[in-house]
Amino acid sequence: MNPKEYKYTQEHEWIHSEGGAKGKAGLTDYAQTQLGDLVYLDLPEPGTEVEQFKKMGEIESVKAVADFFAPASGKVLEINQSAIDDPAVVNQDPYGEGWLVELELSNPSELDTLMDSDKYDEFVAKLEAEAEEEESEEKEG
């Protein structure tokens, strides 16, 4: 399930800061499930300044292209080269080996505006319920 100590965005990114001004970020399990097999990651070069909720990269699965938004503002310290080389690792372990970028946070308090894992679980459950509802409406219709 979604790790307790991480924070989540409505666009299905996670960020995890172990205190201090650094944090790793990636795609949530829900996002990787929706996209399917990932085959290409277009991530910002280390040193790039990013702004919270602004696009900082693109994620491509076999079938789709999705934007990757910065969960917090700051500077890109490192990108996960092994995930770039083999994006399948993001499908297999989105919260661990499949992290995407490490940020130096310019304003760590931004993290307080994000969802905690309980809220995000609820958020995803709601999306899934809506998708199912749409389906059953279609069946009745």
Binding site: Q34, G36, D37, V39, Y40, D42, E58, E60, S61, V62, K63, V65, E135, E138, G141
Partner: protein, 359 residues
């Protein structure tokens, strides 16, 4: 909002928790577990697709053959009974309405299998030209039937298909799978050996189950799309359409200009005489970026065309695509660029049969 049409196997897909999508107005699985796994199953094992979205139209009567010869770009009446061919349905101006397979089932009875897109328009087109001739009977049996494609190199290990293993490519027969009456043709859209099977809609579940029990992997549209692209097979409505003629689409081999008059023939003769300006090419990306349908193609910094299909080709481990460029650039080995996220990315024109199965 228009409701999506459902195939007779719709519940099976939902029970398998497939991710569903809208394809030409049909709700169909895009994948069950993973596009890459399903693709791999078809390249190295065997997979099954629900292709009930495709149209199944029977044309019969004393004048059925003459009628089809007038509608299609290859002579239907020259087919042997039990045989089939790929050909085109063209407009009067030579534009492509669809590519289809026509089977000759009996002397005066043919089966057309065509794409899901624009079914009504295509049926109207046939009805419009058959007019009031009582000796041409056109019946769209798609709603009462189910169609599955079973594809992959290990297909001959399936004991429920033993009775059709003798069929030649494009051959077909009426037979039984277990207790179920089926029409089986050795056709497909994956670049692998395989069969397409049609039966009454009532037989859908037992037909599907007879393959599940034998370990055949359910495969979705995502895998189907890459399999066909790797094999250089085009998708009508995407790689060619009413605005494209067969010669620029590289489908001149499906047009027999020697045969009697058919709809589009005079326009196609004229197009052939004048020559074409654009041509469909295959290309391979030099790096890891993926070209997608609609992206622009450049040559020496000039915009020269558009990508019609593109994606990752797992069998080859590279990214490939199809698109149109001016004829003078259309030779194998030409360097082109694709505009991907406001950057020009290097690609090269290659043979569009990217993947060819070993014999």
């Amino acid at each position: 909002m228009e409701l999506l049409k459902k195939t007779p196997l719709n519940k099976v897909h939902h029970d398998l928790k497939a991710k569903m999508m809208n394809f030409a107005g049909w709700e169909l699985p895009v994948w069950y577990t993973s596009i890459l796994e399903e693709h791999q199953a078809v390249r190295s094992g065997v997979g099954i697709f629900d292709v009930s979205d495709m149209g199944r139209v029977w044309v019969s009567g004393k004048n059925a053959g003459t009628f089809l010869d007038r509608m299609l770009t290859k002579p239907a009446q020259q087919l042997e009974i039990g045989g089939a061919q790929l050909c085109l349905l063209c407009l009067e101006n030579g534009g492509i309405l669809d590519d289809l397979v026509v089977h000759r089932v009996r002397t005066n009875r043919y089966l057309i299998v065509w794409n899901a897109a624009n079914i009504k328009q295509k049926l109207d087109w046939l009805f419009c030209w058959s007019g009031s001739d009582p000796d041409v009977v056109i019946e769209d049996k798609s709603p009462n039937t189910v169609m599955v494609a079973v594809q992959g190199p290990t297909i001959h290990q399936l004991d429920n298909l033993r009775s059709v293993s003798h069929l030649p490519r494009f051959g077909h027969t009426q037979t039984k799978i277990g207790e179920l009456s089926v029409f089986v043709a050795r056709t497909g859209y994956t670049g692998e050996d395989g069969f397409e099977i049609i039966s009454d809609a009532a037989n859908s579940l037992p037909l599907w189950e007879s393959f599940m029990e034998r370990g055949v992997k359910p495969c979705g549209l995502g895998a189907r799309d890459i399999l066909r692209l790797e094999a250089g097979m085009m998708l009508c409505g995407q790689d060619m359409d009413k605005g494209t003629n067969p010669f620029e689409a590289g489908l001149g081999w499906l047009v027999d200009l020697e045969k009697g008059d058919f709809i589009g023939k005079s326009a196609l003769l004229e197009i052939k005489r004048r020559g074409i300006k654009h041509k469909l090419i295959g290309f391979q990306m030099k790096d890891r970026e993926i070209a997608r349908s609609g992206y622009k193609i450049f040559h020496s910094g000039q915009e020269v065309g558009k990508v019609t299909s593109g994606g990752y080709a797992p069998t080859l481990g590279v990214n490939i695509g199809l698109g149109y460029v001016p004829v003078e650039l259309a030779s194998i080995g030409t360097d082109i660029e694709i505009m991907i996220r406001k950057k020009l990315v290097a690609a090269q024109i290659v043979n569009k049969r990217f993947y060819k199965r070993g014999v």
